[in-house]
Symmetry: C2
Subunit: 713 residues, 2 copies
């Protein structure tokens, strides 16, 4: 394998390279199909019996596969379910309070699944309940349409369109940002309820039929999802600590990130009905979706329907519920106290055909292949940990509680965390998001793995990927993105500072403009949608399995850790330039408030020199353990235990989502947020002080990280 | 040396034991005398030219001693000095505002130092200034006497004596708790100024003459000191980050821990004059000191002097000032990336005869001896770092800024921190405060070092110490205490979780009831007071040098780290029993609010088993590095990055000062403070919830620490 040959040809060769070949070749497309079929038969929402059954089955099969140990690790966390006897829905009511229209109570069940019970109807997990008193006042609710519900949308609504949403129900389309951010913005703006819908402009691919004839979202399909603002806290009642039996729990009113207003999701069929009679101004074009309505912003309906109001009937309950992680281990031969983790979730909103079982099937096959390799006499240098997380959909709970439970061990021992959520979200090419120090390893690995695309026999995955998604404005290589949040790597990367990455198959982002994939979090995420449309040969999933597998193999088995600190230096320079450029939009204020990025550029320069010197010393390494520790702890060096402002569990100074969108990874998030806040600040002098403070923290952190790369004494 | 022979006789023997003998024997009493003489000639307050000169001299001499590297590390921190043109003093003014009495502007200069300039007059560093406006309102200030100014004193004053100090000036005696806590309590109670005095009951030893004829505090002697409430933040303007040139600084109003009222210290000569005419009730006997006054609590003076008021004239300025640490290193041969640190401060209020130069002279001699040993071919297994900290007296600033600067390196690499403040505060026996895992090493070491006491030739320090201070209610061995705060180990131990300890010579605490030592922080801390009274032969300082030296030698040079985790288990059990017992005082409420310590006891039991198993595995160790890492990181496992409530930089869940006294080390400080707060809580249900939460955090932390001792995979 190429990796061994290149970056350091002295000590890093190993006799294990044929093991890597065996390991990757053992992963079979047909087996992945089998695993996926097996684990998508029944709905397995977190906290349900079926999800425990799958956990038990996974535990049993991992044991059969022959890895050293497998255990079930339970936690008792706050989950949220619809009330089975009082369905959630939204009504239009007339002036007498009669319901003249109600949204659907469920999605039409797909073919072949008609007899399945326990399909949870679409809902927004952790929505506040419509209390009787609240319902009363809700019966006079007027709708306001606020586009995607982003900070800038609310700001435009209030400042340019002059509309105050206090006491109104807002309706926003899904997409662009994490739904929890939309809810938070609605609460901040004073709304008393929020409805989210999937607009065809955002969840419909041109020329594709709706499921089951194609992979588009049917009009009555709905995206489920949690609407928390946890900022990495894990279980809302036990922030910072694992939710064990003896753990102190906050009362639900003090829980982290729970919205105070009702929230409900609908499909575009129902959305049309709600939007159709809306009155008020016609918005700018970029507020218009693809429904045949004018997207008037309200408030309320046109004169003709003025007396009609919208009512949210929400009876969802929060309850502390037991969840189960499955943890499997292969003990390291030489360095058992160094951990390489491959983790992904198992819980699904319904069947989880794509999210997460396409990923879980890949992990399952990876464990099977690793077990086979063990039986041939191989044992990795370092310990490998496989995890099947629970309750990811409810706020990354299983993975975060386990990270909290094991924080001390992970801090001192974890080499890397590879995430394994959905392995496919499109049919175009590979997508990798990872920390910069993994760039080189990802490129090296993908050169050794064949392209899964038809007509590309003999072509490497790297070449296939490079052709389809060239990182042109950065370099002539396949594009690699920053990690944001929204999946289980969060606690490992942003809280604990463990080098992390994820890989999946994706769409063509230049031509396919829909968010995630159309059936995302709907009942239509079935085994069949993968088998018929996304990956009939299962070769794309096989390729993803090989990428994820090779990553953990080489991280666990290479003598010298395959982390490239020069790549981190390069990336830091680009991030610094880009954040400084963002600030330049305010040149006058920068002068007024004496804001300078010089200290940050100087710190990056210092880091670059330390990284280069470090790599030079690698050529003559006689202190392998010491240098491996330096490589491992570089990512940890970017952690500030004080956390980002207001987000104590987001501690990574270089990477975190912006406060305005949990999905998007920003570089230098502290500076980014401070710059963002300037737009809305009533006190610019104070806001610019915060920018300066954040620049100083970033400069210090980069200097401190550079120090970790210098000789230890 | 005994250590090598006992705990694990397999791998821990080493050929270096003769080096230890050479190292200890090379430390000479006469040399320590020389060092002390040299560095106490002139006042060397932090931030002054003279303290930089001593830093340069230390740097030069350490270089000459032959250690590998020595560097000067500057920071720019907030210090506080009296205004040279407007002296600080307290007046009694008559109804016309005429000063009828003023406190002294300076202490009488001791014999032989009459020509010395730059003796800073007694002051409370970081006192608020008496602003003109404030002075005006101060001219009507009535005094209230509040004993030691403890939380319980203020509470007794308000609840039992019915006196409200809002708008009054409080006068309290020094002693029992850290002066900064007194100031905080006064502010919380609403006082507009606070005067602190040294009462002979607390600063006078029976049968001893005042200096220069003895070591008692003269009537005009005054204790200086800072009055901050930093809770580990370091420089008040740069909490969490090193105070470098590019570092963002808070504006002084936002600085951490700065008191908002004027504060001033006086001696008992002046205190007599202020207390003598006070009116109001006579307090209970335990409020009475040893002055010939009745200690009436006020408010204000007796009827005869009713029109007289007290005025505080304070013109002290805060200013950002450059300070200098000196950092010396000996590179480790086998494990250069493992650090053992010996650090103590250099800055003194005046000459620093005891505090800190008795300690600094000991460090100097340790460095000299280590340099000699290096020249004979020895090199320690691990890296040794020597530090001469600056600005300890202003809030542990030099050591904390360096810890902030190097936090990432220290977190991953520091094995232990040994503190070197004053090496002597009495003439009786040894005093050691350290983390429990160092107990065994301290006992082993002291058995190898001779007693410095006359008539004890051939007797070990251990035996001499044991005879004088038996830890009877704990075990039959010399007493070892918990670490509190108030010296430079704080950031290393309580913030970063590095195993720490300190050793010095002390008084007989059973018979000598004065606080610290009488001349503490006065101009009378001279070379002569040590030479004439505390240690004429300099053998006590030599013994302390040998204890501190042997600690760093064995921590740096033993193959297996000499840390005893069974001792930690034993101590945790005692601490748990003792904190549970404290809670039992409130049996009824414990029932009402369902408070149980079971989870904590169960966690301690779990830890005890893990510790025992760990020590068993040490017998057959074939993974030295792995087990050494486990030993090193055990202390780190007690760190909670979230910090203690309201104290983000105090992160050690097992040890921290109580919120009410910075000096006293409490075990399970989170629970301790929560129990303390119950007494004053208006909402007992809520207060008991906090107790339960803290028990849960403690139980989790002990479980998590136990996990770090189990086999890594």
């Amino acid at each position: 394998v190429g990796w061994f040959a290149k970056p350091s040809n002295t000590q890093n060769h190993t006799d294990s390279s044929h093991y890597l070949k065996d390991f990757l070749e053992e992963m079979k497309a047909d087996k992945i199909r089998e695993h996926l079929r097996k684990f998508t038969q029944l709905p397995h929402l977190a906290g349900t019996e079926q999800n425990l059954k799958y956990a038990e089955q996974i535990m049993k099969e991992w044991q059969m596969f022959g890895i050293d140990s497998v255990e079930m690790v339970p936690y008792d966390v706050l989950l949220s379910y619809p009330n089975e006897s009082q369905p959630n829905y939204i009504s239009i009511v007339d002036h007498l309070g009669n319901e003249v229209f109600n949204t659907s109570l469920a999605e039409p069940v797909p073919q072949g699944y008609e007899d399945i019970s326990n399909i949870v109807p679409p809902y927004s997990a952790f929505s506040a309940k419509g209390q009787p008193l609240l319902l009363l006042c809700f019966s006079s609710g007027d709708l306001v349409y606020v586009n995607y519900g982003r900070t800038e949308d609310f700001s435009q609504l209030q400042r340019e369109m002059g509309i105050n949403v206090t006491g109104k129900i807002v309706i926003v389309r899904y997409g662009k940002i994490f739904r929890g951010n939309k809810v938070k913005n609605a609460v901040l703006a004073g709304a008393k309820g929020i409805i989210m819908f999937s607009d065809p402009a955002d969840y419909w691919a041109d020329g594709i039929q709706p499921y089951p004839d194609g992979w588009n979202l049917p009009g009555r399909g709905v995206q489920r999802g949690n609407v928390l603002n946890l900022n990495g806290a894990g279980d809302p009642l036990t922030p910072g600590y694992p939710a064990k039996e003896y753990t102190y729990r906050f009362s639900p009113e003090d829980g982290v990130g729970l919205p105070k207003i009702p929230v409900h999701p609908i499909g575009f069929h129902d959305a049309f009905r709600l939007l159709n009679n809306m009155g008020g101004e016609i918005p700018p074009n970029n507020w218009k979706g693809a429904l045949n309505v004018s997207y008037r912003i309200g408030p309320g309906f046109t004169d003709e329907f003025k007396s009609q109001k919208v009512r949210m009937n929400i009876h969802t309950n929060n309850q502390v519920t037991r969840i189960y992680n499955v943890i499997g281990k292969i003990r390291g031969a030489q360095e058992p106290d160094r951990y390489v983790i491959l983790g992904g979730h198992r819980d699904a909103w319904v069947f989880g055909g794509i999210d997460p079982m396409s990923g879980a099937a890949v992990v399952h096959e990876t464990v099977r292949s690793a077990g086979r390799l063990l039986s041939t006499g191989w044992r990795p240098r370092r310990t490998i940990i496989f995890a099947s997380w629970d309750a990811e959909e409810f706020g990354l709970l299983g993975s975060t509680e386990w990270a909290e439970d094991n924080a001390r061990l992970l801090q001192e021992r974890a080499v890397a965390y590879i995430n394994a959520d959905s392995a496919i979200e499109g049919m175009y090419t590979l997508r990798v998001d990872c920390t910069p120090s993994l760039h080189t390893l990802v490129y090296d690995i993908t050169k050794q793995i064949p392209s899964p695309e038809e007509g590309e026999e003999g072509v490497s995955l790297y070449k296939s990927w490079h052709k389809r998604d060239n990182w042109t404005n950065d370099r002539d290589a396949p594009r690699i993105s920053k990690l944001g949040s929204g999946s289980d790597f969060e606690a490992y990367f942003i809280r604990l500072g463990i080098a992390s990455g994820r890989a999946r198959y994706t769409k063509n982002t230049k031509t396919e403009r829909y968010s995630s994939y159309p059936v995302y979090h709907s009942v239509y995420e079935t085994f069949e949608i993968v088998e018929k449309f996304y990956d009939p040969s299962f070769k794309r999933l096989q390729a993803v399995a090989q990428v994820r597998g090779a990553l953990i193999f080489l991280l666990a088995d290479s003598q010298l850790l395959p982390l490239d600190v020069n790549e981190y230096a390069d990336s830091l320079r680009k991030y610094a330039q880009s954040i400084a450029q963002l600030a330049q939009k305010n040149l006058v204020e920068m002068e007024t408030y004496k804001v300078s990025f010089d200290s940050l550029f100087s710190a990056v320069e210092n880091f670059t020199v330390a990284a280069r010197d470090f790599h030079e010393r690698l050529q003559t390494l006689n202190k392998l353990r010491i240098m491996n520790d330096q490589l491992m702890y570089l990512e940890r060096a970017f952690i500030d235990p004080l956390g980002l402002p207001g987000r104590p569990f987001y501690r990574h100074v270089i990477f975190a989502p912006s406060s305005h969108n949990k999905y998007a990874g920003e570089s230098f998030p502290g500076i980014y947020d401070a710059l963002f806040d300037i737009q809305n600040s009533a006190d610019p002098a104070k806001a610019w002080e915060e920018v300066k403070r954040q620049i100083s923290i970033a400069a210090f952190t980069v200097h401190a990280a550079a120090m970790t790369l210098t000789p230890p004494a």
